[in-house]
Symmetry: C2
Subunit: 603 residues, 2 copies
């Protein structure tokens, strides 16, 4: 596989030109630190770390982790890279300054994390999981809990996990069985088994802080009876250092399709000591405030797969010689033309690229709301950020992770037979990308969240805000006589997407009145359509900015030209994918729900 | 993973009811043997063999083959199952009776092979590759070659391979480097290295007969200079038994994404003795006559993935409990409802099922032409079979293998996190299925074959024959007053697909006059659209027959009802997928071809 290069220019284009984050940072605590110079320094240095320390371990990491009597050894080189990572202070970009963090806006670490994810997803999950623990403790921990754990977690000396799933329940946490019984000293005794715990056991840090969902003895039935606990692998000693071993053990690690470098642990809690976070029975809502941020992190796995796979495939396509171009010889000196000359190969590469760049823009766009949600200067702005982020989240997680699998599939295909062989690394990207549509809530769950809680129950409020913003962007382009033909075309297509998006939502609302199952039936198609509409808005903005910079000879003209090429491909050849989703949303429900379960059970 | 059950009823429904193969067998040598009783006996006994001997080795086979100093050991149990396979006479269903075959029509072994493929793809590839060697020798071998090799290959005591690819060329065989130099005794000395040789080395048979492409010293440039050779692993002794070791050695086997149970060999030919098949420099055309049959075999890997994955996922979905149905509790006694109640899960299952059943029908339909091609009683019929098969082949191979990956992806998704874990077997189906869109000609190559040689260069002749047949089927349904509402809807949709298919081909022809690259640019979308149209025709026929049988209380009413349910889903919720392909075919070409290669090379 080719060496990985972080597309630093793309991040700077998005932050400085397309999204004008400087203006947005004025509303955010710590935003004044994120000057253009600072952003460029962080992205450039971050890119070096990703390219030199983490990316080279991507393929070798596929050999996987080793479990031995409860201990887990990570792949060769992972530990050394992690040491460098914490020495350089990378984990603390955004943590609160009180506990040693640098207090930068979330959007900055979100961009850095995407680089890290692309360099080596399985490795990046170790520090990635800690962020969930930090966010949960910052929002819901007591002062004592914060002072015990936060500085250790923010510095990266300790790491964190999130323990939700049990063997019989993942999505449906109401069925959870792990029990917590109060001890006399205010702590709790926890018993149960959690599975699928990413980064659940490893050799990178001196302690692992598990954030665990469990039920108290007097818990109400269902999801309203779930509480949240801190269960450290080693109990903190009085001086804050690592103390006595706690009753949590790694029973085994899973053999998975991909992300072999990250240990997916079965954790057994045998009379483990835990500490309640927040109030009893409110664990799930505490978890969900964290989920919106975590799901954006997972969304970026789609971007990562598309970017990494594109880099590998495009490098191969300009080198590999096969057949002659149908429109005339392109490489007369060679025995054949490079496969990049063949239209179908080009189409696969361009698809990967517009997914990578389009989805990166979507995540960056949404990160402005994450900034407000975590650090707005006023309560109103904080709520505004939360609600806008809440609408974007299921689209990002659901749509981008599916797009990542599509892109990774094309990467394998461009390599032909070699794509199927481990040595080239392309099939690993596909295997790794496949988990992203499952964990942190499957695509189906994201789709129900989007159409249910975030659209119908919201009475279309957030959808209207989003589509109105789209229209406000394109109407001046459509009304001005100076708009170029290309921009007019994109503006028109973007406008149509915004209108159709609202129409489809309305249609689903009407269908739902007749039969509630229609919501579930059309939900994934609605999610996908929403993703294409969102991505169209991003490509519209990127194209307009690139054209403007090109016309005024600002910046790198090659970069701007390339961006316009990609935009043209997106609107002409990729956006039409949305049409099939629009069509099936309105299909009759009988075709899906009328048959008895016996149709599925034994035939 | 659930136990695999062969859907015997579905094969009988296709052969006896939908396609009326009895009538078609009258035109085929050996067709009189394939009576309904014989078919039922073969399918029923074949199913037992698949279910009891081969399917149980599917998951354990994923542990892979072992290479040791040129020898390859297949996974545990493979050898024993192979012994039973040849003892029971399964390999000889269709081989010519002169060499011990049973002389049944190709369609019968095609159906049996699909069962075998579904039971265990990696295992089935060992005998599957032999079929290519048999077909090549039957068509192009000398009498001496036939008598030396055919009975051994048809009985399965020896196996065969097809050796085309070299490290630097797969699709573009003109670049091939393997050399053949004449010996004085009429044999040839072969030197070179072939890669990606499926079943290239193993411990199942006493000899392996490699069919190898190589160049003679006086070969013209390009694909017109390729000759075909037999290179047995052991040279046959005078009495026909295994003699001296030949100069062919397995240098290594590949580490692949999937199909671990099948050894993908690097074969080194060092002064190996080979025997010319057919005349010099005509190797590629000899290979291509075999390719049409082999590609149908590969197509059925898509059907296999869809069927196997559907069986696993549907069994899981009726058992696994999570959440309550949005339209009201369905399982009040349990802690949650089975996930099959959730519309999106249902949609994934139904998609898998209509892919499995629809693609099976497509393969069976095309196998009537394979029968004519291999064993028609007249030359005219043989040519008719060849040309109709030739048109179907790229659609079957290109479309069905892509559909298989889609179906296998859904199988993983239905299982949630468990789908990503090896133990459940669902991710293995996905990994195994992924090779099918690559080998035997990638999807892109199939697409060029379909739009180029089989449509434009054919002046739409075959396309017209196919679409006329579709119209002849649906017009009586549309004109009759007795047609049910459902059948009228399907007939109308099928008619529209046939008209649009021709319109799109015509449009591509017109575009091609302006710019030849437009053919390549739209080719994969055209292939996919063709696949949906073909599949719509199959679902139309299956639905009409199922309705007719249900109305006249013929056969298994449950089976017929289920078929109608699937048809409704196909037309309402799956066929609309074709719309996105139709849209992008006509996209402007600039978005794909205008950019310089530097756009891809280093950004």
């Amino acid at each position: 596989m080719s060496d990985f290069k972080v597309p630093v220019n793309d991040y700077l284009f998005l932050f400085n030109d397309v999204l004008d984050m400087q203006q947005k940072y004025q509303r955010v605590e710590g935003g004044d630190q994120a000057t253009p110079d600072m952003l460029e320094a962080i992205f450039t240095e971050g890119a070096k770390f990703c390219e030199n320390e983490v990316a080279p371990l991507y393929q070798s990491g596929d050999d996987g982790c080793q479990w031995n009597q409860g201990d887990v050894t990570t792949p060769s080189g992972f530990k050394e890279a992690y040491s460098k990572y914490i020495e350089s202070g990378w984990p603390s970009l955004t943590g609160s300054q009180e506990f040693g963090g640098q207090g930068l806006p979330t959007s900055v670490s979100s961009a850095f994390n995407e680089m890290l994810n692309t360099a080596n997803w399985a490795w990046a999950m170790y520090p990635g999981l800690s962020e969930g623990a930090v966010a949960t403790l910052e929002d819901h921990g007591t002062d004592e809990q914060k002072s015990t754990y936060l500085s250790k977690l923010i510095s990266g000396v300790w790491s964190g996990t999130m323990c939700l799933t049990e063997a019989h329940c993942g999505t449906d946490l109401a069925q959870m069985k792990t029990k917590a019984v109060p001890n006399e000293d205010g702590s709790y005794k926890i018993n149960g088994t959690k599975i699928f715990i990413s980064a659940g056991e490893h050799d990178l840090t001196e302690n692992i802080v598990h954030i665990v969902l469990a039920k108290l003895p007097d818990a109400p039935e269902g999801t309203k009876g779930i509480s949240l606990f801190i269960i450290p692998k080693f109990l903190p000693a009085a001086d804050g250092s690592v103390g006595e071993r706690n009753g949590v053990n790694c029973g085994s690690i899973e053999h998975k399709m991909g992300i072999h470098g990250n240990a997916t642990a079965v954790l057994n809690f045998d009379d483990a000591t835990g500490y309640l976070i927040g109030s009893p029975h409110s664990g799930l809502s505490a978890m969900f405030t964290y989920m919106n941020v975590a799901r954006i992190g997972t969304a970026s796995q789609g971007t990562a797969a598309a970017e990494r796979s594109y880099q590998g495939a495009s490098a191969y396509a300009v080198e590999r010689l096969a057949m002659r171009s149908i429109s005339g010889v392109k490489n007369p000196e060679g025995p054949a033309d490079p496969i990049v000359c063949h239209p179908d190969v080009r189409k696969m590469l361009l698809t990967q690229r517009v997914i990578a760049e389009g989805s990166r823009a979507m995540v960056c766009y949404a990160s402005q709301f994450a900034d407000l949600y975590t650090s707005a200067k006023t309560k109103e702005e904080q709520e505004y950020g939360e609600s806008r982020l809440g609408f974007c989240t299921p689209i990002l997680k659901g749509f981008i992770t599916e797009q990542g699998v599509i892109a990774a599939n094309y990467g394998v295909q461009v390599f032909g037979g070699h794509g199927y062989i481990k040595e080239w690394g392309m099939e690993q990207i596909l295997r790794d990308s496949r988990i992203a549509t499952i964990y942190e809530g499957t695509t189906g769950i994201q789709a129900l969240d989007l159409i249910g809680r975030k659209t119908l129950m919201d009475k279309f409020k957030q959808l209207k805000i989003f589509t109105s913003e789209m229209r406000q962007f394109v109407m001046p382009l459509l009304l001005s006589t100076k708009t170029s033909r290309a921009m007019r075309k994109y503006a028109w297509k973007t406008l149509k997407m915004s209108l159709k998006w609202r129409y489809l939502a309305l249609r689903m609302a009407l269908q739902a009145k007749r039969n509630k199952d229609s919501v579930g039936a059309g939900s994934v198609d609605f999610l996908m359509f929403s993703g294409y509409a969102f991505m169209a808005y991003m490509w519209m903005q990127m194209a307009a900015k690139a054209e403007q910079k090109l016309n005024s000879s600002e910046g790198d003209s090659r970069f701007n030209q390339d961006k316009l090429i990609s935009a043209e491909f997106f609107f002409e050849r990729y956006l039409p994918q949305s049409s099939a989703h629009a069509k099936t949303i309105s299909a009759n429900l009988g075709s899906l729900m009328d048959m008895p379960n016996s149709y599925f059970a034994d035939s």
